[in-house]
Amino acid sequence: MSRLEILKTYKIYIGGKFPRTESGRFYTPKNGTTPLGNICLSSRKDFRNAVVAARGAFDGWSGATAYNRSQVLYRIAEMLEGRKAQFMDELMQQGSTKGAAEKEVHASIDRIIYYAGWCDKYTQLFSAVNPVATSHFNFTVPEPTGVVSVFAPEENSLIGLISTIIPVIASGNTCVVLASENKPLCAITFAEVINSSDVPGGVINILTGTRKELHSHMASHMDVNALFYTGNDKKEILEIKKLAVDNLKRVVVKDFVTIYSAEHDSPYYIEDFVEMKTTWHPIEKIGAAGSGY
């Protein structure tokens, strides 16, 4: 007996829940002629809701201990390991060979483990005690920037997604991600992984849809503090940079062509989304006793 295939409807991920887009719209990306699934075509209101969720989650996530964040990231990697087969299957649906799919999933898991290790170490690396000419103890420490808009790479839809969001949240930022437009399956399945690990709702919010429709809102929203753009659309980058000026968003643009290379395992991806805070702490000098600390 022949049966009618059920095409999965992939929902978006906002604030730890899986709503449909408020607009009710969807699109059906294809690999050749094979439809991949019904994917939400997110609207600017979905983005707005996601920012509200990300803002709400920021205090809790940035206030958690670095050690705890590290454990949570490690947990994501564990959960991903357990669902390897599904991710490989989806990557192959989207056109990868079996070998390439396996390589991508393995590299993704390893990369999460890599950044999990950095959570409680990057601060030491980027902090400094600065020499000053007055009687002050002067030191600099990095703090998370806030809510970050992330444009995940269009190609390498799984490792690209991982490489853009994990270093962003490692320091305590929360983010709203726009997944790959034509290869969005892994992004939503990854949301299912996040949802069953210990990541608090709202820390990672994942939207599907088009860059064309959403990029200006992702760049202009006043409650977004930084933006991570991947790709090389010159016109789009220029527009984003202009719109980001209004509230002085930190804008980082990267062209992720060498996604597997070791240069992408780097704490400097964490440093891209932290703010350096310098503190001048008065110290008392009694006679010639030297510094007080």
Partner: protein, 320 residues
């Protein structure tokens, strides 16, 4: 069948006659509320969407209806001053914004608020009558009102005695409101029913009718100290009471939902509900208010969003 029917009609007839002798307000006994109908009506209101020009008008109107409120144990003179300043300078970066309708404080801060708001056209409202529980003697409640009115409060927000109401002492509740109304003098009286403690729509309707008949200028849902506070269904029940009273007497009574209204979308839905239940005569801060503290900022952010097209952040608006 027939004799039974006649008998019950007869009973009812006698019942009304009996009541009529003792109290005024039960002349028109409260009708029972169609709960399913109310919920259904609200579902239709909330599934609608207001856009563009209309939305902007609605947001500005809602802003002009806000009673900016601080009713915390931790309130200080300076907190009240700060709130009054906020009331007068909502967001100076955008000129042409309306002000809020009133600032609502405890009686001991009325004097401070009056000083700060002098000449601004913004009223000072004060809660009174042993707010929020209302568990005190009439003497204490009257003194509370006197302190507030003597200090210059233009509006008094009183609470009804919910305990007495549940005991069925409707006359007590009625008399108390009437006495307080008298004590208010020229100040307008808002009567808080604290619907979260009443239990059913029928009781909300009953309490609304009592308050209206006893002379309330406004009926108000909640103190904000009890959850649930204001909801759309409860507001609709109260609006219906106001409507019936208006049809009967031609006298307008105001409505103030308070507590839990923190976003613009919800505020606009309230406006829709008022417009379609009572008509546009009520769409002014003379007859409709929002009791809220965080709503004002959300309205401001939405207004700026409408004007600039850019989603806003709390970081760029004064707290209170």
């Amino acid at each position: 069948m027939l004799p039974t029917l006649l008998f019950s009609l007869n009973l009812e007839f006698n019942f009304f006659r009996m009541i009529k002798k003792t109290t005024v307000y039960l002349n028109n006994p409260s009708p029972s509320v169609d709960q399913v109908g109310i919920i259904d009506r609200i579902d239709r209101i909330t599934s609608r969407s207001i856009k563009d020009e209309t939305k902007l008008q609605g947001l500005k109107l809602a802003l002009n209806m806000v009673d900016l409120t601080t009713l915390e144990g931790a309130d200080t003179e300076n907190k009240v001053r700060q709130l009054c300043n906020k009331a007068q300078h909502l967001h100076d970066a955008y000129p042409g914004l309306p002000t809020v309708a009133a600032v609502c404080v405890y009686p001991n801060f009325v004097k401070t608020a009056k000083q700060c708001l002098q000449g601004s056209g913004i009223n000072v409202a004060s809660v009174a009558t042993a707010f929020p529980s209302g568990q005190s003697s009439l003497e204490v409640k009257l003194l509370d009102v006197k302190i507030a009115t003597d200090a210059g409060a233009e509006e008094i927000d009183m609470v009804i005695s919910r305990g007495k109401f549940h005991e069925g002492e409707y006359n007590f509740v009625f008399d108390e409101i009437a006495t307080i109304k008298e004590a208010c003098g020229k100040s307008r009286l808002k009567v808080i029913l604290e619907t979260g403690e009443l239990g059913s729509f029928d009781k909300v309707r009953k309490a609304s009718d009592i308050a209206i008949e006893a002379g309330a200028d406004f009926i108000k849902t909640s103190t904000g100290k009890i959850s649930p506070a204001a909801t759309l269904p409860v507001t609709l029940v109260m609006l219906e009471a106001i409507k019936d009273h208006y049809y009967r007497t031609g006298i307008q009574v105001g409505m103030k939902p308070a507590g839990g209204i923190s976003n613009s979308k919800l505020a606009l839905q309230y406006l829709l509900l008022v417009k379609e239940t009572l008509g546009k005569d009520w769409l002014t801060n003379q007859w409709f208010r929002f009791g809220a503290s965080s709503l004002a900022n959300d309205l401001l952010m939405q207004i700026v969003k409408q004007q600039t097209g850019v989603y806003q952040s709390k970081d760029y608006f004064s707290k209170d």
